[in-house]
């Protein structure tokens, strides 16, 4: 049973946002307006409205992903318990098996020996 590997918060944000609005990826946040130096005021407003809608979509996607994450973790915990129990049971069985074999094959030495 290997431990789960978790991404960072930024990785999750970028992964979800990438399919919604690539301009809002964390690497682009400091240069949002760079490519739109000559855009009109209306175009700028429309762009930021698009960003607002993108955030709304992100929130929904994030909620869904969180559900999936929690389910995965719950399953993982259950599996961890099952795995530990199975491991313990195997160890017990092996120990008892060795013991049984040893006891079964013990021969009391005859007085002549």
């Amino acid at each position: 049973m290997e431990p789960l590997i978790f991404p960072t918060g930024q990785e999750v944000y970028d992964a979800l946002m990438n399919s919604i609005e690539p301009e809002l990826l964390s690497a682009n946040l400091d240069h949002l307006d760079d490519a739109y130096a000559s855009e009109t005021e209306d175009a700028r407003r429309a762009r930021y409205e698009r960003y607002a809608a993108a955030f709304a979509q992100y929130d929904e996607a994030f909620a869904s992903w969180t559900e999936e994450l929690n389910e995965t973790v719950r399953t993982y915990r259950k599996t961890a318990f099952r795995s530990a129990e199975a491991e313990s049971r195997t160890q017990e069985e092996e120990t008892l098996s060795v013991l049984e074999q040893d006891i079964a094959t013990i021969q009391t030495p005859s007085p002549a020996a």
């Binding site: 399919s19 607002a52 491991e87």
Partner: protein
Amino acid sequence: MIKKLFPTQAFTLREHRLLFENPEAAKPPVASENTESKEKKESDAKASEKAGELNKDTVKTAAEARTNGAQAALDAAQKYAQQGYEFAKKNVAPAAKTVLTPLVGPAVIHAGETIASHSEAVIMNAQNVRTENKSVSNATVEKKPDAQQSEPGTPENIPAKITALKEEQKENEKKLEDKKLPPEERSTLQERQTQIDEELNKLNPPKTHGEKFTRDLNSAIKELSHAQGMDKFAAFVKVMALISTLWATVSKWNEKYVPEAEKKEEAPKGPDTPENRLSAKLKANEKKMDGTVKDEKVNLQEIKDQNKKEREANTKNSDDMTKRIDGAKKEKEVLIDRKAELEKNLTSAKEEETKNINDQIKIIVEQIAIQDKVIALTTERDALLEKNKKLDEEDTVINKRFGIEDDKKLEEDKKPEETKEEKPTETPEQNKKRTDAAKQFIANAATLLPGTTVTAGKGAQVIIKENGVTLIAVPQPDGKWAAIDGTGRGWTVNEDRYVMYEGTKAGEDPLLKKIGDALKEAREKKLF
């Protein structure tokens, strides 16, 4: 399996459905330690979004708030997963061990004590073998392992220090037997006992591996009997490791000496004659059958069957080889002719053709070498034929023992024994007795053979069917039952043995075994 919890393309499909088909289905993120700050930031960002006042800075804030939210959710999930993992590792397995230890502890002590004395016998036995082989110096052989050596005051010349240490050890032993002894003091005493063992070993080192083993085991058993809690488990592991060592040693002795003794027994005596070979086969066969086949006739028939199978396989192989050898010889002839032709062309060939012809000749020479390898199988084939000859000789010896000339006569010799009772020479009284026995058997079949269909056949026949398998059984005047199975094989059945006429292993057929058991029960209940 390592699973990275990361949004994937598959997830994007789910996201798509949520966003465009059922936007209301999405739920808010789970609560976490950073819930308050996250919610505040998100609400601020959302307020800006709704008011249409987003700008470069508020977008960045909104994105960071979401990144933090994701991180918080991940932290919470990771903590929850890790807690589960740690709890499972720490609590589930040790809990099971706690239950196991008191269960196996006393059994191990008992086993250990028995093994301690058994090991003495093993060592002595080993020493006897050594003495016989004269392969080990007397010094090693003379010293007997002393299982009681840890007990004080036995030999007269034990140095005073050893006696003192043993006295101390004995006193500690008594103290350790006190169940109310505080754990710390118990632990200290245990350590001291181990030290004393080590000192005693230094003062009076074990002379043989066996003696060392016995001392180690005694020490470990004592430790196990006094240890508590996790120390008990550690002591248990120690004892088990020593036991494993002992059995590994015993196995080595067995491998080293027992097979040699057996080999001596199995080694063929005298020259390579059919009689001697057959004698060796008979012994090997009886051993293989675990002594169940005592009847030489059955055993000889088995050997004849084996010989027959081997002979058939040898014949098939030798035939195949002959075909291949003949083919290779023909191929070789063709290749030699072709080579000669090419060599002839070589003399009149132009310079540029010479290389090409030489290459072809080289290939042909390689092919001829391959064919030569096939032709060399002749020796192997001849060996197979020689082997068949020897098998024939053995069969001749077997036939002589049966007092017959060939297999057909052997079959004729056997069949009358098993079918004699059904011949018309039977008296009416005998026939009636057999028929009555069959009727009685059928009348009690429901009890005797549950799960089978038992009906009357012609005369004294009893037809037994189970799962599509049919057996026709016929009671014999001597109390045995003869039976014929679906493939036409004949069987003799009595209470404890089911022998097929062709020498197949006894008790092989489950239905036949059932009949035998039923017959035994019927006799015990005096049903007929």
